[in-house]
């Protein structure tokens, strides 16, 4: 058993994969917390779909330019497309009100259909496509690792450094505007950081499941927390744990790492949701009357002694 673990940790491929999984698990729930707070849980999904077009465009350009390997521009293409897509989605959200929903849907489906189409034009195979759709963490190169680490640092610095301001905007946009906060700039910041997170996490779970890593840990955390800060840190811890354990499982059992990670996270949600009533009851046990001690609004003539 111990020698098995030593062998796993000694494998350079697995070392890189573990570091990337750790980073992604840590980073994805940061922005996910803001997205859940403003009820935009599916934004990451939308950006992921658009990023696929970016991957395919990068691939096409790489093939046309005769670069080797011909997917050298895939990740930069994804970053670019995700950034553009996120900003467009934010602008649609801020301006269009009723038509926003439909506009977003068009963007999502256009993104994925365009990606598949352009990928086939660029000479990519279905196997290549599946790698981007469901992740290919086992093929992480040192260059990918450096890029992931750099993007993770950016997300952490912005997402945690500006927490108070981002909280204010996500919690009550009207109040933030009335406080003279640069609401539009902060909204764009959230969209950009979400786009960076998507491209970081894409490597691990693929564009179709990318949003799960951002949202599910937050969904689990908020079952047991009462504060925003605690929700974010708990979600980050959950993210790291599910990513690393999911990856470790697939080292021994041949399964898709991305799918395993997401299924683990959702299983954890189900478990916590089932256990929560017991936890909450234990915490409330022995505490006093939850109602505030305030005088009655009406005069009671009988049965109203206090």
């Amino acid at each position: 058993m111990i020698s098995d673990i030593a062998a796993m940790l000694g494998d350079p491929l697995m070392q890189r994969a573990l570091v990337v999984a750790c980073l992604v698990g840590l980073v994805a729930p940061v922005i996910g917390t803001y997205l859940v707070q403003r009820r935009l849980s599916l934004l990451g999904d939308g950006i992921g779909h658009v990023a696929l077009t970016g991957v395919a465009l990068g691939w096409l350009v790489g093939t046309l330019a005769g670069l080797t390997p011909n997917d050298a521009l895939a990740i930069p293409g994804a970053v670019l497309a995700a950034l553009v897509g996120a900003v467009v989605i934010e602008l649609v959200r801020a301006h269009g009100r009723t038509s926003g929903d439909v506009a977003l849907a068009l963007l999502f489906y256009g993104g994925i259909a365009g990606g598949v189409l352009i990928m086939s034009l660029a000479g990519g195979t279905n196997a290549n496509l599946v790698g981007y759709l469901f992740g290919s963490i086992s093929t992480v190169s040192t260059q990918d690792l450096v890029l992931t680490a750099a993007l993770s640092v950016v997300v952490l610095v912005v997402g945690i450094g500006l927490r108070a301001a981002l909280f204010a905007v996500c919690h009550d946009e009207e109040f933030a505007r009335a406080a003279g906060l640069p609401v539009r700039a902060l909204n764009i910041t959230i969209a950009v950081v979400a786009a960076l997170t998507v491209t970081v996490a894409m490597r691990v779970v693929g564009v179709l499941l990318v949003s799960a890593l951002m949202i599910v840990p937050v969904a689990v955390a908020q079952l047991v927390t009462t504060s925003f800060r605690r929700t974010m840190t708990t979600a980050m811890a959950i993210g790291v744990v599910v990513c690393v354990s999911g990856l470790t499982i697939t080292y021994w059992h041949d399964a898709s790492p991305g799918a395993t990670i997401v299924v683990l996270a959702i299983g954890l949600y189900a478990l916590v949701a089932a256990v929560r009533p017991l936890l909450v009851r234990a915490r409330r046990n022995g505490t006093r009357d939850p109602h505030p001690d305030v005088a009655d609004d009406v005069v009671l003539t009988s049965g109203g002694e206090r």
Partner: protein
């Protein structure tokens, strides 16, 4: 000043100046444009024509936002993710380009919560607080800046009478220290002794500006049921461009 929402003028040719230290009530029926006027004052909705000056500065970056406290009309202070009352109040310490809370933010937030009688609730999830308590959290969020100008949009809607009275006492203290207060109200209620001047809006225009008027006789009747469908008068035009402010609850 004129404010239009969805192309429909909601507030028409309002010319209003509030002097330093005044306590002014903005009254009117549902849909008369009170909330829209206040929201335009703080830049949440744009004014179609005319100009707005806050504390002497034209609406925009030069406004000293840290001296202005705004309490929006809200049914709930909760969102998708848990947040404690303290965290919500802390967000009130940010303004303009100060995107991080100041050093003494923690004491100030606790002080503001204590001043609305929620000192013991600071670390509770706002979702677990009652509607009236959530409203008080939002008031604390405005007070945490120690504002010189306080704009309140129906701050006592859904708040029980004892809390209204303690809120009136808190406002009286602020007014006594020279805070300028503009408060949107349906009826003067517990705040009546404070109000020095009342502005009444009807169909988006000022129909009275001066001493607080007496309520409609039917409103004074103790049997009269007060309805507070507050969400309905937020933006009548935004949801349905055909709905003009002339639509009122009572014919």
């Amino acid at each position: 000043m004129t404010i239009a929402l969805g192309g429909v003028p909601i507030v028409r040719t309002v010319d209003l100046t509030i002097g330093e230290g005044e306590v002014v009530a903005l009254l009117g029926a549902n849909g008369s444009g009170k909330s829209t006027l206040v929201r335009a004052l703080v830049g949440v909705v744009p004014a179609e024509h005319g100009s707005i000056r806050l504390l002497g500065a034209p609406l925009g970056r030069t406004v000293p936002w840290h001296r202005i406290g705004y309490v929006p009309q809200r049914v709930s202070a909760a969102t998708g993710v848990p947040a404690t009352a303290y965290e919500v109040v802390l967000s009130g310490t940010l303004h303009g380009h100060h995107l991080r809370p100041p050093r003494d933010a923690r004491e100030r937030a606790c002080e503001a919560l204590a001043s609305v009688g929620l000192g013991a609730e600071a670390d509770k999830d706002v979702r677990t607080l009652s509607g009236g308590q959530q409203q008080r959290v939002l008031i604390a969020r405005a007070l945490v800046r120690r504002p010189d100008l306080l704009l309140l949009d129906e701050p006592v809607a859904g708040v029980d009478l004892p809390s209204q009275q303690s809120f009136a006492v808190a406002l009286a203290d602020l007014a006594a220290t020279g805070t300028t207060i503009l408060v949107v109200l349906h009826e003067l209620g517990a705040l009546a002794p404070l109000i020095q001047r009342a502005v009444v809006l009807r169909h988006g225009a000022i129909v009275h500006d001066g001493a607080p008027p007496a309520p409609q006789p039917e409103h004074a009747d103790p049997e009269h049921v007060h309805l507070h469908p507050h969400d309905d008068d937020r933006d009548p035009a935004r949801d349905d461009p055909g709905l003009t402010p002339t639509v009122r609850w009572r014919g």
